[in-house]
């Protein structure tokens, strides 16, 4: 009735619901005191650099209102940049400037904005407009990601990123998120971005969904989504798996972008990754999560061993 799935069927397919995620995984495997490691992107970045995990380069940070003007000197040295709130969530408050010239600043959307616009945006970040709970925040400036041409024609404006769920250090599921016109250049699935399920063993597309419906081609560019195969998949798995040691979180969402020059970079970590990845992969998370929960190990396996396990068993 009303297009509802039967509970029994969902359970038999191992689909995880929000309540179960919250109680049985996030509350159980994610120590609350470790949350700042991922909720504060500046902290994540420093931590990643210490662990030798590749991340987009940090150009600068603004902590106080009168520090805003000082960063323009830094900005002018770069072709493009990205301004983010350190404690933002869900992609809120991210400003991407792809080109700076005499006309002003060119946003990723093609819009041309002036110096004051940038200042206001940073002021909003500092006031806590984008942060969780509205607490005062820090603005961070990152080098622009020159995304890998393999994804050309796959994304409307925004950078396509790969979301992996890493459970106790094992990457269990992956999804490529493509911005669309409908999602306004954002990679949020519930806003209409396309989610492409990626086979965790090979890096090849398995299925794609938009608005909960199966799609085969990108709605804006018309590119066939089934052709997608992420190159050097093992490196990506290793990168995501290594975020476990770095963050200490047992149930982790890792967002990775592919940079033309630097290869896979960790964009951000998420202590409460969403469940849409199950729809994109057309399978539930639970069977893999339970398999890893039941692993009997003498000593904690290292990153390589975990990736080996994933490639052999899933």
């Amino acid at each position: 009735m009303f297009g509802l799935a039967s509970r029994k069927k969902l359970r038999s397919r191992g689909v995880m619901g929000m309540n179960q995620r919250n109680v049985a995984f996030i509350a159980q495997y994610n120590d609350r005191k470790l949350y700042p490691n991922v909720d504060n992107k500046l902290k994540t970045k420093r931590l990643a650099q210490r662990h030798g995990i590749a991340v987009p380069e940090l150009l600068g940070e603004v902590e106080i209102q009168h520090g805003v003007e000082e960063i323009f000197a830094t900005l002018s040295e770069h072709q493009g940049f990205c301004i983010k709130p350190a404690k933002g969530s869900g992609g809120k408050g991210i400003l991407v400037v792809t080109k700076i010239d005499d006309d002003g600043f060119h946003k990723a959307s093609g819009e041309l904005v002036d110096h004051d616009y940038i200042v206001r945006h940073i002021s909003n970040i500092l006031a806590g407009l984008f942060s969780l709970g509205g607490s005062p925040d820090v603005a961070m400036l990152e080098a622009l990601i020159r995304f890998d041409p393999v994804f050309d024609g796959l994304s409307h404006q925004g950078v396509p990123d790969i979301r992996l769920i890493v459970f106790q250090g094992y990457p269990v599921m992956a999804m490529l998120r493509l911005a669309t016109l409908a999602s306004d250049g954002k990679a949020n699935l519930h806003q209409g971005a396309v989610g492409v399920g990626i086979d965790i063993k090979t890096g090849a597309a398995v299925a794609a969904v938009q608005h909960n419906q199966i799609v085969t081609h990108h709605p804006d560019t018309g590119r066939d989504l089934s052709e997608i195969k992420v190159a050097d998949w093992r490196a990506l798995l290793e990168l995501s798996a290594s975020c476990y040691e770095m963050s200490g979180l047992g149930y982790l969402g890792v967002d990775i972008v592919l940079d033309k020059n630097r290869g896979p970079l960790v964009l951000e970590l998420n202590a409460r990754p969403g469940l849409a990845i199950q729809i994109a992969n057309q399978m539930g998370l639970l069977s893999r999560l339970r398999e890893i929960e039941n692993l009997d190990r003498v000593r904690p396996p290292n990153c390589n061993e975990r990736v080996d396990y994933v490639l052999r068993h899933f």
Binding site: F2, G3, L4, A5, S6, R7, K9, L10, R13, V15, G17, M18, N19, Q20, V23, A24, G90, K92, R120, S123, N124, A127, G128, L129, G134, D184, N188, H190, Q191, V209, N212, Q213, I214, Q278, I279, Q282, M283, G284
Partner: protein, 491 residues
């Protein structure tokens, strides 16, 4: 799990205690009857010292609430012991007509006393009547025994014989009243029997006297029968005033004594009655001892757990998204003041107009704190404006819009506006609609008379709500809306 169990036990036992021991009714507006019985005692004093002893009722089916006596210059004492209660008036010198009053208020006892049927009392041996009455009595009894099979039918036969034209009966009745005859015959038949006198409680009756009744032990239980010609109205409660044969009134030093009863009925709220009992007791530390203003405040506050229950249910079990976790409860609390329709129209209008003005404010590029402060002022201005308009148009119902918490409205507008900019109008409708849906459901719960009554007067309900919330907090199954969301996965 243990905690939930403890909470359930605590809640249920508290409600049980409040209901059974304190008599707090389970539904609001329940009333109980209070019977005011006034006995007017008159006699003529003979000029010497006078002692009037008036027996008081000792009926386990009734509870005495309060009593008064009134008498001109008499010393009064009320004596109570397990067996008898009485009021004694005394005066050194009294002559002429004396009048004194006793007034008692009674209500039906909550806990019905156990039927007094443990051990059958021994039949008392009675003095034989003088002849020819004794022979007559024996003849009647023999006749009744012959026509009956057991005690039950014997009693029926005796009552029938009382109404018959029997010669022997006429003989007895020349000396004894109907009831006395009946009692005597039963005693001869060795049926334990007691003469009692009771008062029928009917509102507005005056000049009543006690009605003689027969209480007898037949087939293992006590039963009460009226054998007088004036029949009892079974529907009216009967207050047993005297049991056995003590005198109702005993006047020493007076004559021509007379007693008249007047009865009036009062109806009071059962809740009020229960709380009066509580206040009278020593352990009267509680909600009802607070000043009325504080009590009224708690009447509101104690509704919030109901709202919280709705929020938890809608979010955890159904999966409705709302903007702000507990904002819906605050909106619902405001709805209680404004009535639902007024509240809904008022809230949606203020938020909609507020959103428009907020979109203008976002062009000014203000810092967050000042922008929200500006929105607060805008909300106040809007509410003021609406109220003035409504008053001019004579829409007094719309005046209640002032009950909405302004800061909450301002935050709602701010949050909705950011949501609009970042996630689009659809998300605003989803979350705004979700909030209103939860608010309306919470309002319907919080405005329900029965639930309001429980929330304030039977505090144990809050332990039950807590248990339900804890229980839902452990629910790891699918939310109702997830069944729709994950539909593509079940195919």
């Amino acid at each position: 799990m243990l905690l939930i169990l403890v909470l359930v036990v605590l809640g249920v036992s508290h409600i049980f205690h409040r209901h059974v021991n304190d008599g707090v009714p389970l539904t609001p507006g329940q009333q109980i009857a209070i019977w005011q019985v006034e006995a007017e005692i008159t006699f003529t004093g003979q000029g010497g010292s006078v002692t009037a002893t008036f027996a008081l009722p000792n009926d386990p089916n009734f509870e005495l609430i309060e009593e008064f006596t009134a008498s001109p210059a008499y010393g009064v004492s009320v004596e109570r012991d397990d067996e008898n209660s009485r009021v004694v008036w005394s005066k050194r010198e009294a002559s002429g007509r004396q009048t004194m009053y006793y007034q008692g208020s009674f209500k039906l006892a909550r806990a019905a006393p156990k039927p007094n049927s443990e051990t059958p009392p021994e039949p008392v041996s009675i003095p034989t009547l003088a002849e020819p009455y004794q022979s007559s009595a024996e003849a009647i009894l023999a006749l009744a025994v012959a026509q009956s099979g057991n005690q039950q039918t014997l009693v029926t036969q005796l009552i029938e014989l009382l109404d018959s034209e029997n010669q022997n009966l006429a003989m007895l009745r020349s000396r004894l009243s109907r009831t006395e005859t009946f009692v005597h015959l039963l005693q001869m038949a060795e049926i334990p029997v007691n003469l009692v006198r009771g008062l029928q409680l009917e509102d507005g009756r005056r000049n009543q006297s006690l009605i003689p009744l027969v209480r007898m032990y037949v087939d293992g239980e006590w039963m009460l029968r009226n054998v007088e010609l004036s029949s009892l109205d079974e529907a009216l409660p009967l207050l047993i005033w005297l049991e056995g044969r003590p005198a109702l009134l005993d006047v020493e030093g007076g004559e021509n004594s007379n007693i008249r009863f007047a009865i009036s009925e009062q109806r009071i709220s059962a809740l009020q009655d229960a709380n009066q009992v509580l206040q009278g007791s020593e352990a009267s530390i509680g909600l009802y001892n607070l000043p009325i203003a504080e009590q009224n405040m708690f009447k509101g506050i104690l509704l919030l757990p109901l709202g919280a229950l709705v929020v938890v249910f809608m979010r955890v079990i159904v999966g409705v998204r709302s903007s702000g976790t507990f904002m819906p409860i605050l909106i619902a609390a405001a709805f209680i003041q404004t009535e639902l329709l007024n509240g809904l129209i008022g809230f949606v209008t203020v938020v909609a107009v507020g959103l428009m003005i907020r979109s203008f404010l976002s062009h000014l590029n203000l810092l967050l704190v000042s922008r929200i402060s500006a929105v607060v002022i805008v909300v106040i201005a809007l509410i003021l404006l609406f109220t003035i308009f409504a008053f001019q148009l004579g829409l007094t119902e719309a005046l209640t819009i002032t009950f909405f918490p302004m800061i909450i409205m301002a935050w709602t507008i701010e949050r909705m506006s950011i949501l609009w900019e970042e996630e689009g109008g659809r998300e605003v409708l989803v979350q705004g609609g979700g909030s209103l849906l939860i608010a309306v459901l919470a309002y319907l719960m919080m405005d329900n008379d029965l639930l309001r009554h429980w929330a304030f007067n039977l505090l144990g309900i809050h332990a039950l709500i807590m248990a339900a919330i804890l229980l839902m907090g452990q629910y790891t199954g699918y939310r109702l809306l997830e069944l729709q969301r994950f539909k593509p996965l079940s195919e």
